[in-house]
């Protein structure tokens, strides 16, 4: 089985997955009791006004018909118009994607750069105080909620030390400095739990590999300890670590929602919250589809990475 053949099959496999997600989210939204038309019309609207809005939005048609209209449009790249923001969903997502992507990227970058060396160090000094501190921090990082970490960091760095801005977001086009400055606190906040997760996984995985025979071989060659750790141990320990990082990116979506709220960042997380509150069907559907697609792609990327990390893995 060639690699490209495998890739092709996997890409083909995303089609049914996306279809299931589409059906599921479509049904979920329409089967939960609530009426977007009533929300748009407001508290003082008459029944006729609500009915009129409903027919404008096409919500009075049979559900199956609505689904085929929507999915037909999606296939041509048209995600419809937001009920609430009065814009096309595509342009709405286009505006909101940069902050979220920046936040996610920064978070993962910080998490990996901090967690992997920490985990390797903890494994290397297994049982020492460094190990215990890293593991203790890891438990703490798991258990403290994102918004608590967020407000703590805001208080420390923004209010008390006054080093960084409290909230907000600056687009990269308006200056890289401000962009980075405003991303540090939110990504730090969000990365705490991933640092905990990845550091722990790295430690366990490296610790296991360190007792392997080839580590002894490397030492017998006169290789220094750092190279033994990072060249021989880490790469062999990488598969579970990469798996966890992949899962982490996928789970980031939940964290993004909270973090964007805490730091008032106009990203997809905020958009999702606003859209759900407003029962903005087209927006919710598009965002969920997008998230699912990203999720599937990350999984695929992780599987592909395995083959790079370990030549024994072939599909």
């Amino acid at each position: 089985m060639s690699m490209y053949g495998y890739l092709f099959r996997r890409l083909l496999g995303t089609i049914p997955v996306m279809l299931v997600v589409a059906v599921f989210i479509f049904l979920m939204l329409r089967l939960t009791p609530s009426d977007p038309a009533a929300i748009i019309a407001g508290d003082n609207a008459t029944t006729e006004q609500v009915a009129q809005i409903r027919s404008q939005l096409g919500l009075n048609r049979p559900m199956i018909e609505q689904f085929f209209i929507w999915s037909g449009n999606v296939l041509t790249g048209d995600f419809g118009e937001s009920f609430f923001f009065k814009k096309t969903v595509a342009s709405l997502i286009g505006e909101r994607i940069e902050p979220t992507l920046s936040l996610a990227l920064f978070t993962i970058l910080i998490a990996v750069l901090v967690a992997v060396p920490l985990g390797v160090l903890a494994a290397h000094r297994h049982g020492s105080w460094i190990d215990r501190i890293v593991m203790g921090f890891s438990v703490l990082g798991f258990s403290v909620p994102v918004f608590v970490v967020g407000y703590l960091l805001i208080y420390l760095f923004a209010v008390w030390l006054n080093w960084l801005p409290v909230q907000g977001y600056q687009r990269i086009s308006e200056g890289v400095g401000g962009w980075v400055q405003r991303l540090i606190l939110p990504s730090l906040t969000l990365s705490v739990i991933y640092i905990a997760l990845i550091a722990r996984m790295t430690r366990t995985s490296v610790l296991e590999v360190l007792s392997e025979d080839y580590i002894r071989t490397a030492r017998a060659k006169g290789q220094n300890e750092r190279t033994v750790l990072f060249r021989h141990a880490l790469r062999n320990a990488a598969v579970p670590i990469v798996t966890v990082i992949g899962l982490g990116i996928a789970l980031l979506i939940g964290g993004v929602v909270v973090t964007e709220s805490v730091f008032t960042i106009p990203g997809l997380g905020r958009l999702t919250v606003d859209a759900v509150l407003a029962r903005d069907y087209p927006t919710i559907q598009a965002v969920i589809l997008l998230f699912s697609f990203v999720y599937v792609m990350i999984n695929l990327a992780v599987d592909m990475l395995y083959t790079l990390l370990d030549p024994r893995i072939r599909y």
Binding site: G222, H232, D310
Partner: protein, 547 residues
Amino acid sequence: MAEPVLEIANLAVAIKGSGDRPHAVRGINLTVGANEIVCVVGESGSGKSVTAQAVMGLLPKNAMEVETGSMRLQGEELTAKSDADLRALRGTRMAMVFQEPMTALNPVERVGDQIGEVLEVHTDLDPAARRERVLEMMRAVHLPDPEQMIDAYPHQLSGGQRQRIMIAAALVLDPALLIADEPTTALDVTTQAQILKLVKEMQGRKKTGVLFITHDFGVVSEIADRVVVMQMGRIVEQGPCEEVLRNPREDYTRMLLAAVPSMTPPRRSPVSGPIVLQTDKLFKTYGKRSLFQPKARIVHAVSDVSLTVRRGETLGIVGESGSGKSTVARCVARLVEATSGAIRIDDVDIASMKEAKFRPMRRRVQFIFQDPYRSLNPRRTVGEAIIEGPMNFGLPRKEALQRARDLMAVVHLSPDAIDRYPHQFSGGQRQRICIARALAMEPELLIGDEPVSALDVSVQDQVLKLLDEVRRKFDLAVLFITHDLRVAAQVCDRIAVMQRGVIVEQGTTSEVFAAPRHEYTRALFDAAPGRNREFFVDKAPEAALPH
């Protein structure tokens, strides 16, 4: 006499914390001269590997440390050296080859890079020059097609090729001392012969001093100039190879030598009991081509195997790894399903019988596995392990326990020990327990899949005697899988030699050993280390056997 390459004087290595003894090794005095191969022989726990690790400075830091003594490498004291200084010596002036070529190479790095790593650490050669030197070294250890193989990963190589890579990496900077820790133990006998030849050739090339650790006297007789015998962390005896092998001074050495099974099979009269097991044209094929995978790999693990075992008879299946000998055993016990052919137990074909129908017959065929450390559940007492089977077949617990106690006595263990856990027993004792567990089912056919291969030679001898004893006592048919010709010679009435899934030769043990007909059988015999030597010592070796 020229200065020795390695000189160990009065070395003691302490075990930190509370072990069963305070020192891993103690009072070690030995030297390795240039162009000399010194074999350190001993059973597990004798401290031979610890000695090697101490020299290399590779003792596990939080478990052991050098307490007293001196180790000199070409006159230079090693015990006083810093970690960094020792690192600089490793790979350049002393190098090491390990037992398991399967695990001693980094699985995710190209083999060429792993040889080149030594050059990377210790020299200023640029990548192109390194590659050139690596290729040269790969040619020197006779690896086929080095230009291709240099970019291969370890899993793409055979065991013997991997061990050649290890040797190339160890010798690429022409160290004065090579330490080889059981380098051929995990290899097939024909591969072992080639690697031994290579070690000899390589050490002669640059007059390297070799410290060769092994438990196998056959290997010792093939390559040693001098022999050091170790027991329980001490050196029992040392001297020139011939002298130690021919005229051992110490009882322990004599006992070890006497325990090496002879290559000459004892006289056996043919067994004429009823046929218990008969396989007819047995095939086991892995992989299947289908419409979707027309190029799927098909492996014929077992092809056209027909054999019989009579009551009271031991049939040995001899072969190297991958020959299919274990697969035959597994098919017979229905641990894997045969692809085609018949397996008759007492004339009932079980090959394609439904599992539910076959289950009552499972009692009749019992298995003893290779590794006694892993074939007993560590969380259950040995009594529970023994009674589980009989109770599954309806024996009341009380009677089952009585049977377990009786069987413990049969395998020469205390009946009261049934309440203990497996970790409280030695390897040999555990294998006895496994035998008791198999006997508890009152089987007709006993299958041993390399049952003594993981055991020390003196223990191996005892377990083999026990197997022979129970075979006679219970009139069992035994299917004995082994790679060891010496063991086969001693326990088998008849022998089937397997190669690549096929039985190439079958006959009585004395026939096959006296006049092997197939060329593969002859190759196996030629490769057996110390094949022309009898390690028999006439001075009452039995007296030295521990009981």
